[in-house]
């Protein structure tokens, strides 16, 4: 009975995600003029004096980002003739006889034919329908690595298999030959101890900012300077390097340096950098703020409720009203001033960097301030509600004393609506905090969405929309599951079966 509900809920969640992504897709890819994506592209500026190259560059970029299907003469010619022959050279010249066939072929396929401004060579392009692009986005979304990844024609000799083995540092691993990654899954000594490269999310290519990177890598890869440490290589030799051996990918052509270090083609390794990823920084900051918020907000709220209309209550209310009524930017700067003047704390995150605890104090505190206020307010309110309930009066009539009543009859009941929100706030930490992060120049997620919108990084917008939606849905779902643990009256069941 309950399992049925969970399945339905999951299906509904997936549908919600589909809907949100579709809407964002339509907004971003049909309402934003596609020329805008070049606004901050330097390459295009450099090509300003060469209209042919400029147009072709634009066409190629649109093709790469999935806006259009695009064909030109040079690609057409290479399908007709062998590379390096005279025929192909002749075919590539403007005014060649193949141009007529090209135009005919692609017109019949529904392409628009245009001619390059100077050479008058024809090019063909066709818009890709939004619906098709959405479907493709979801098909590509989950990428599962397999031994068929490596090109069969280029590397016919590569063995294709998945097998158990060890990492260079001695951890257990599921290894693969022929996959994109050498280590599909492995254990090591860093949290969460079991890692995998087998299944990955593909959220698109970042452009124009963070060009040539996958969107997900932009927000989840470590940042800053390379971290060079003694690294054990595949063959056992130790060398100072920033390579992460367990994240090495297949590389088609090896250079000399690669050949010195690696015995096989898995030489495209991620480098480890000193600072956590954007997501990581926002998450750590969010978690610290959250712990502060619950650690202070809950007990103070309790205290306020117990001394209702007393001094503690009034002081607490003063704080809440201060936080609610003063614009957040104002009190963030106020606390920034307090912190820097009286405690000599750094006012910018990069001053001492990630590894120094002082860098975290002010941003975390200013992030926690409003959460503390709202938790105080709600805890107090729910407590007072419970204190006036009939069963608390009855508990008193039963002869229980104040602290027994609070412990057994008020606190747990009051905590139900608060507990429901915990998973959402926890998951929400990933999304970062715009104001706090910009005030303290923290390299987190907060600024990613506005930046992406400003720079027309459409893939990033869609990826962030996807992440935020998914995280919220999971957070709410977990919250609902949590209250079923605390509140026996609530069971997650389908309507027709529910009480």
């Amino acid at each position: 009975m309950e399992r049925g509900y969970y399945w339905k809920r999951i299906v509904r969640s997936v549908i919600s995600i589909l809907l949100v992504i579709s809407i964002v897709f339509v907004l971003v890819y049909s309402l934003v003029p596609r020329e805008r994506i070049f606004n901050s592209d330097d390459t295009l500026v450099k090509l300003g004096g060469k209209p042919d190259e400029k147009l072709q560059y634009q066409m190629r970029t649109w093709q790469r980002l999935g806006y259009i299907d695009y064909e030109n003469m040079s690609s057409y010619c290479s399908t007709l003739y062998e590379a390096g022959t005279d025929e192909i050279a002749a075919c590539n010249l403007s005014g060649a006889k193949e141009e007529k066939d090209f135009v005919e072929k692609y017109e019949s396929l529904g392409y628009d034919i245009t001619y390059l401004p100077l050479s008058k060579s024809p090019i063909a392009s066709k818009d890709r329908p939004i619906a098709k692009r959405i479907v493709e986005w979801f098909i590509q979304l989950i990428h599962i690595d397999s031994p068929n990844y490596v090109d069969e024609e280029m590397f016919p000799d590569v063995e294709r298999k998945i097998y158990f083995g060890k990492t260079p540092t001695g951890g257990l691993a599921i290894k693969c030959s022929g996959c994109e990654y050498k280590y599909l899954a492995y254990t090591d000594t860093s949290f969460p101890f079991i890692h995998q490269n087998w299944i990955s999310l593909y959220l698109g290519q970042s452009y124009p900012t963070f060009d040539s990177l996958q969107v997900l890598n932009v927000i989840s890869d470590s940042q800053g300077q390379e971290k060079r440490v003694d690294t054990v290589f595949e063959d056992g030799h130790v060398e100072t390097s920033s390579y992460k051996m367990t994240a090495c990918k297949w590389k088609n052509s090896l250079d000399k340096l690669d050949k010195n270090k690696f015995q096989d083609n898995y030489a495209n390794c991620t480098t480890i950098k000193k600072d956590p990823s954007m997501m990581g920084i926002s998450f750590i900051m969010g978690i610290i703020a959250l712990v502060l918020a619950y650690g202070i907000g809950l007990p103070v709220g309790l205290l306020m409720a117990r001394s209702k209309s007393g001094l503690a209550d009034k002081l607490g209310m003063l704080y809440i009203i201060f936080i609610i009524s003063v614009p957040s930017l104002a009190y963030i700067y106020f606390f920034k001033y307090l912190g820097s003047t009286f405690f000599h704390l750094p006012t910018a995150f990069p001053t001492y960097g990630v590894s120094d605890i002082r860098s975290w104090v002010l941003p975390c505190v200013s992030l926690a301030l409003p959460s503390i206020a709202s938790l105080m307010l709600w805890t107090r309110r729910y407590m007072v509600d419970q204190m006036n309930s009939d069963y608390v009066k009855f508990a008193k009539a039963k002869g229980l004393n104040q602290s027994e009543i609070y412990k057994k009859h008020i606190f747990r009941n009051a905590i139900i609506p608060i507990a429901q929100g915990i998973p959402s706030s926890l998951a929400g930490c990933i999304t970062g905090a715009i104001i706090t992060e910009s005030v303290y120049s923290v390299g987190g997620m907060g600024k990613m969405l506005p930046d992406a919108i400003n720079s027309y990084n459409n893939a990033m917008i869609i990826a962030l929309a996807f992440l935020y939606t998914t995280i919220s849905i999971i957070g709410v779902f977990l919250g609902d599951i949590i209250i079923t643990w605390i509140d026996p009256r609530i069971s997650l069941a389908n309507k027709e079966e529910g009480r």
């Binding site: 009939d390 069963y391 002869g399 004393n401 009859h409 026996p488 009256r489």
Partner: protein, 357 residues
């Protein structure tokens, strides 16, 4: 009448509530002796101070309320002097228990029935959890929960309203109190369940021999269960007597009015009797008899001087100037003249208040 042991004695109780710089005189000098093992009913309309008066027995007054005068003697102690939870330990919930009006909200919705019963037993009897559970199942059995052991771990929402009130009674009685205060125990229940619950309390009282104080405005319940009745109006008991005396020889005009307004006494085709006007505001000092402005038999003196208690019999007293020898002779209203027959008709087989004995 044989000499009865007084178990609780309230003397000249006055209770004031502070409401926004104003004082509300909720109870204006009430004295009452409760006899061991009797069932005493307090009747009166809303706001007459029924609940507030009994709350002084358990120190359950709201935080803005205070006993400003008088004493409640129980077991050699003056209950009005007790303040902290510690002072009340061993009395509230243990010797004097209360059950409230609404069983739907009297139980904590997110804790099991069992844990809500055992917590009282463990608290007052200092027994092990296992022993407490045994006692709890036993008392659940007694109040008529079928399959008590099985239902021990269920939650309130899995119980019907009547069953919940049985649990509330079980909790109140789990420590064998000497006095049980029932604050409108059946008001929130439907009629068929009401009779069952009243019957249950009656049976348990016979078996466990506790004293019951009923607070109700349901005169049918009073007629059915009470040994003695106190009628409250405007923060005072204005008439007190055995149930027969109150029903068949009421002396106070308010008691007359109250009895006349029993809807069951209405005659088809005629308008129902009701008491005109509103109860007095207890914020003001009341001069004379509080009921005088609504009393069609009021004398001039009723507006000037508060009447004393006049003794009618050893058990029957009323606070009305009509009983003064100098007062004119007044006949009680027609509607309640042969109340005996009317009440018997109601409580005998086929009547609205008939309870299977």
């Amino acid at each position: 009448m044989e000499e009865k042991k007084i178990i609780l004695s309230a003397k000249d109780i006055e209770v004031k509530f502070r409401v926004r710089d104003n004082y509300l005189n909720a109870i204006r000098g009430v004295s009452l002796d409760l006899y061991d093992g009797e069932t005493f009913a307090i009747v009166g309309e809303s706001g007459s101070g029924k609940s507030v008066f009994t709350k002084t027995f358990t120190g359950m007054l709201e935080s803005n309320g205070k006993v400003t005068n008088g004493s409640v003697m129980y077991d050699g102690k003056d209950l009005t002097k007790l303040e902290s939870d510690k002072d009340w330990e061993g009395i509230r919930g243990a010797k004097i228990a209360t059950i409230f009006q609404d069983p739907m909200t009297s139980l904590n919705p997110i804790r099991t029935i069992g844990s809500q019963i055992t917590e009282v037993i463990i608290k007052h009897q200092k027994v092990s959890a296992e022993e407490a559970k045994k006692q709890a199942v036993d008392i659940m059995d007694r109040v008529g929960i079928i399959d008590a052991a099985k239902r021990f771990d269920e939650y309130p929402f899995q119980y019907s309203g009547g069953m919940r009130q049985r649990i509330v009674i079980a909790i109140a009685l789990s420590c064998r109190p000497e006095i049980l205060i029932c604050d409108e125990p059946t008001t929130a229940l439907d009629v068929t369940i009401q009779a069952q619950i009243i019957d249950l309390i009656k049976d348990l009282q016979k078996e466990l021999k506790f004293t019951t104080v009923y607070i109700t405005h349901d005169l049918g319940v009073v007629a059915n269960v009470a040994d003695r009745v106190g009628v409250m109006y405007g923060g005072q008991i204005i008439e007190i007597g055995t149930v027969e005396e109150i029903f068949y020889e009421p002396a106070h005009p308010y008691t007359w009015a109250l009895l006349s307004s029993l809807p069951q006494l209405g005659v088809k085709g005629q308008e129902l009797n009701y008491i005109t006007g509103t109860p007095p505001s207890l914020y003001n000092v009341i001069k004379g008899d509080a009921f005088a402005p609504r009393n069609k038999y009021a004398l001039k003196i009723d507006f000037e001087e508060e009447p004393p208690f006049f003794k009618i019999s050893d058990t029957h007293y009323a606070k009305t100037w009509l009983l003064d020898p100098r007062a004119p002779k007044v006949e009680k209203p027609e509607a309640i003249r042969n109340l005996h027959e009317k009440i018997s008709a109601m409580t005998s087989k086929g009547g609205a208040y008939y309870v299977e004995q």
